[in-house]
Symmetry: C2
Subunit: 329 residues, 2 copies
């Protein structure tokens, strides 16, 4: 692949590691009538070093270590170089290797935006006290950050869902007060815990399948945010008498429409501080070598839906391996 | 009807006038399998004088003039006396007659809650500058307050919809910058005005019918609030790529679930100040005598869907008549 052309606010980043996400496999499998005029480079998450800056760049300089989640309508990070708008890039957490850093941006942004915008939460707000959030499922990359941000920054009681003991353990380790099983009906499990309703629901799995259950367990004036699209229309009026709101979180909206992109740079920079101080622990990371065989393996594993934490492809031979939740990699 | 029993936080109010709303006719026509154990008293909006206070009341005293929108699961205001929780009652605006006051609470609460909670707006916030709100339709009671609050308190550019010249005039008189026709496709009319998209949509008509159009005209990160239920499921994923949220406004949620009821008393008291200082003008009011014949006439007119402003039944013989928007009655 040729080195990409830079737009005025683009950085050229030499990619040292890239993170995998469910969106990668969704984009790969998407049927389209369009004929591609150039090969589509997959991958969004990445970390590396700024190699060159565009004419109007002001936030980074050559040599800066950066991490980013990218834009869905541009070429991706599964390449040697990526061109990316500096407004959606963050300075890499100082305490992380590039391999660990490459796993964080997309899930950190998705969790943060979903909590702040979709659920309207504000940090250190006494009104959050005693309120409950359900995250379904808690074991993935997004769930890992939702649990931690909700419990530590927003001060909520967190109920995570998991279907396997190792995921349940991971959720508890990150700050979930309760873990229930999303393969069983939710309401009876909550009732057993003495929980009548939840104020906030973060849905990261199947919006259509869980919608009716969410309508039942949501508290009056509750809020739901979801990151999973559905072909099925939703029976929204079930949310009306309790006045429950519904929002989408889609990390790519800002770069796609060119709206308020600086909020993403802000989240990545603030998130790096929370990581460096130990306030946010990392999800489990499984790092594979940065080659075609690994990409195929990673996509298959991602499609299985059983990934705990995150998968990363890395050019750092010494960083290949699986790192437990919270470890610095 | 016997004088109702008081709960500890109830006021007994002698009703001088009561306001009609679309919800009255919806409740009347609702088919139900339940057998009523006592006659259902219709009506929610009302104004009158506190006749007695419950054991735990602290916010009002006997003789206070009050206005209120009531609770959907209790007996209504089309009666001589109504029992109502003091937390959802406000002190009547000092500059209004009881007839004018009785027309305000339900629409004021619905507009205010919808804007503040459903659309997440905060007053005097510089971030609102240059943002646009569409209210469909603008001519009714709710629309009248949405236009004024959005334009004057939240500082938005307001586009109202109307299908008749007299409604369009009313909308402009209340602060709408533009008026378009909701019987014609919305997007081409907006484009003619040079408007690509709107940040906020307040839907007070038919949620299902307008949903697809809203998905098209909503700006990225936009918000929709609706007050009209629908049997049809909604194609919510159309809102995803732009990350547009959807919320319900239902004024009866708070009293029905006993949640945060004091916010309604707050809105009615603050709203009274805005009315008394002239910051909020009243919708047009048509006042009929407080008798069974008028109730029937008012319900028929409400069902026609062509009411501009509000219909009130009043016991004050001198206040029967139609009062133009903004007049004090």
């Amino acid at each position: 692949m040729p080195v990409p052309e830079l737009r005025p606010r683009d950085l050229l980043v030499k990619v040292a590691a890239c993170g995998l996400n469910p969106v990668d496999t969704k984009v790969r499998s998407k049927k389209t009538d369009a004929t591609l005029t150039e090969p589509k480079v997959m991958g969004y998450d990445g970390a590396g070093v700024v190699e060159r800056v565009g004419a109007d760049c002001s936030l980074f300089k050559v040599g800066d270590k950066v991490y980013f989640a990218g834009a869905i309508d541009r070429q991706g990070s599964n390449a040697e170089f990526v061109a990316i708008d500096e407004r959606i890039v963050g300075h890499m957490p100082k305490t992380l290797s590039v391999t660990a850093a490459a796993a964080q941006p997309l899930v950190l942004l998705t969790a943060w935006e979903g909590l702040v915008e979709g659920l309207g939460l504000t940090a250190f707000n006494p009104a959050n006290q005693g309120k409950r959030l359900l995250i379904l499922p808690g074991g993935g990359g997004v769930g890992s950050y939702v649990i931690q941000l909700a419990a530590r920054v927003f001060g909520l009681e967190v109920i995570a869902t998991a279907s396997r003991p190792e995921s349940a353990d991971a959720c508890k380790g990150l700050g979930a007060t309760h873990v229930i099983n999303h393969r069983e009906p939710l309401q009876p499990q909550l009732k057993k815990l003495g929980i009548e309703s939840v104020n906030f629901i973060y849905n990261a799995f199947d919006t259509k399948v869980y919608f009716d259950q969410y309508a039942d367990i949501a508290a009056p004036l509750g809020k739901i945010v979801s990151i999973v699209e559905t072909d099925a229309p939703l029976p929204m009026t079930k949310l009306m008498s309790k006045k429950v709101s519904f929002a989408w979180e889609f990390m790519f909206t800002r770069p796609m429409f060119g709206v308020d992109q600086g909020f993403q740079g802000f989240i990545l920079n603030e998130g790096a501080k929370l990581i460096d101080t130990g306030m946010l622990k990392l999800p489990q990371v499984k790092a594979l070598p940065f080659d075609v065989k690994s990409i195929r393996e990673a996509h298959l594993e991602q499609e299985s839906g059983k990934v705990i934490g995150k998968i990363v492809l890395t050019r750092e031979a010494g960083e290949v391996g699986t790192f437990a939740p919270g470890s610095r990699v």
